[in-house]
């Protein structure tokens, strides 16, 4: 039984495959975040679009640890792409929560899968943390974007947005999970992938 639940090469490769798809989508969407209006909207768009690869990924998850590793790798990639160390922390927490949730459904339950993706999506909040933990410093660093940009972002991101964004990540994660499941049924099962 013990060897059954150990992660093998194939599981880790699967983490890599779906992680790559998720990251490409994340990166493409995050480029929009340069435009001020899209900055808070990232917590809506990323969870919804990322739901498609993640739900597909969950159909391959049968052993403990895979979701957590997926989350940690996102954290490392955020560090390498210049988002600072905060996402590592939120990724660890969200990864553990998502893992426990999907585990409680014995890695099979569809409802738990959607909920698990909602919890996982909360890691995205880590990308906003540098803004909220050091409000003044964040804008001082971005002075070269121009005052108009800073004004626009400050108007869109007052301090009370922090909890709103966190909840938005979770809710949109659930929505993304549902969307992912719908597409799963419509396309991927037919194609023999799920």
């Amino acid at each position: 039984m013990k060897s059954e639940s150990r992660l093998k090469g194939r599981d880790l490769i699967n983490v890599g495959i779906y992680g790559a798809i998720y990251f490409v989508i994340l990166f493409a969407v995050a480029m929009l975040g340069m435009i001020p209006i899209f900055l808070p909207l990232l917590s809506v768009l990323v969870p919804i679009l990322g739901g498609i690869p993640f739900m597909l990924f969950l159909t391959k998850v049968k052993k403990p640890g895979m979701i957590f590793i997926f989350a940690m790798i996102m954290g490392i990639l955020m560090l390498l792409t210049g988002m600072g160390p905060w996402p590592l922390l939120t990724c660890a927490i969200a990864g553990i929560l998502a893992e426990l949730c999907f585990r409680s459904g014995r890695y099979r339950s569809a409802k738990k899968a959607v909920l698990s993706y909602g919890l996982f999506s909360m890691w995205i909040f880590g990308n906003y943390l540098p803004l909220f933990t050091d409000y003044e410093g964040y804008f001082a660093q971005r002075a070269d974007y121009g005052q108009a940009y800073i004004d626009a972002v400050q108007k869109l991101m007052p301090l009370w947005m922090a909890p709103v964004l966190l909840v938005a990540c979770f809710v949109c994660g659930i929505l993304g999970g549902l969307l992912g499941r719908k597409l799963l049924k419509k396309h991927f099962v037919k194609a023999g992938l799920a």
Partner: protein, 245 residues
């Protein structure tokens, strides 16, 4: 006696050790893009920003070098043209210029890392760093897949454009469904083939794998790693309030 494959590996060996490249990516991400450090770090940051371009030249990646420079010129051009532009255009130019000049450097560094590091080199470097397999294997799969996903996505977009499915031509939900889903389907298929081939070659096995790649630190690595250390040291000194210059 050297095997011919060993010789070809030696010929293909990149200018830098993959570990040095990773260290540079991290330092660039933290300081140039993440914006750590204040006034005193400015000259160091400027020096860091030039680095990826020099590295691309050292590896004779002319195409990528030209593209990076073009983006940089565009960015500074926009900033330069700023005072002559009216209202909204001014705002847009400032934003695009600010973003381009800030991001190009890190993008170029990332391109350099992916273009000049083979998967074997990457795995070998990770093993030398004693990273657990749980991190090494997914990361190397991702490194291998990024360019593939890009190529797949481009050709799927072309095919869908022919059917009139593109942003501005069809509904957003349609674009999503008919571009993302095929992209993911083909990536997963490619990934499965990749996984079969990697497993045949013993990735993820219980025994230690051997690797034909030669990696190791040379003079240029030592210089650049020392540079990284200097940057970090300067930052710590600055945090402690020491005046450097």
């Amino acid at each position: 006696m050297a095997y011919s494959s060993e010789r070809s590996q030696e010929a293909r060996r990149s200018f830098l050790d993959p570990r040095t490249k990773l260290a540079l990516v991290l330092v660039l991400a933290l300081f140039v893009m993440g914006g750590l450090g204040a006034e005193q770090m400015k000259p160091l940051k400027t020096a860091l920003s030039a680095l990826p371009f020099l590295l691309l030249l050292a590896e004779r990646q002319w195409g990528r070098f030209a593209r990076g420079i073009a983006m940089l010129v565009l960015g500074y051009g926009l900033l330069f043209a700023l005072p002559y532009l009216p209202g909204v255009l001014n705002f847009l130019a400032l934003m695009c210029g600010g973003i381009l000049t800030r991001f190009v450097v890190t993008v170029v560094m990332g391109e350099y890392l992916i273009a000049t590091t083979s998967v074997s080199e990457f795995i070998s470097a990770m093993e030398h760093l004693r990273m657990p397999q749980a991190i090494t294997i997914p990361m190397s799969v991702m490194f291998r897949l990024f360019p593939t996903i890009g190529a797949e996505w481009r050709s799927i977009r072309r095919a869908m454009r022919m059917r009139g499915i593109h942003l501005g031509g069809a509904k957003a939900s349609q674009v999503l469904e008919y571009q993302l889903v095929p992209m993911m389907t083909s990536t997963v298929r490619i990934g499965e083939e990749l996984s079969a081939s990697a497993l045949t070659r013993g990735l993820g096995g219980s025994t230690r794998r051997t690797n034909i790649c030669r990696i190791g630190f040379r003079a240029q690595d030592a210089v650049l790693l020392l540079g990284c250390l200097l940057v970090v040291a300067a930052w710590i000194l600055e945090l402690c309030g020491v005046k450097l210059w």
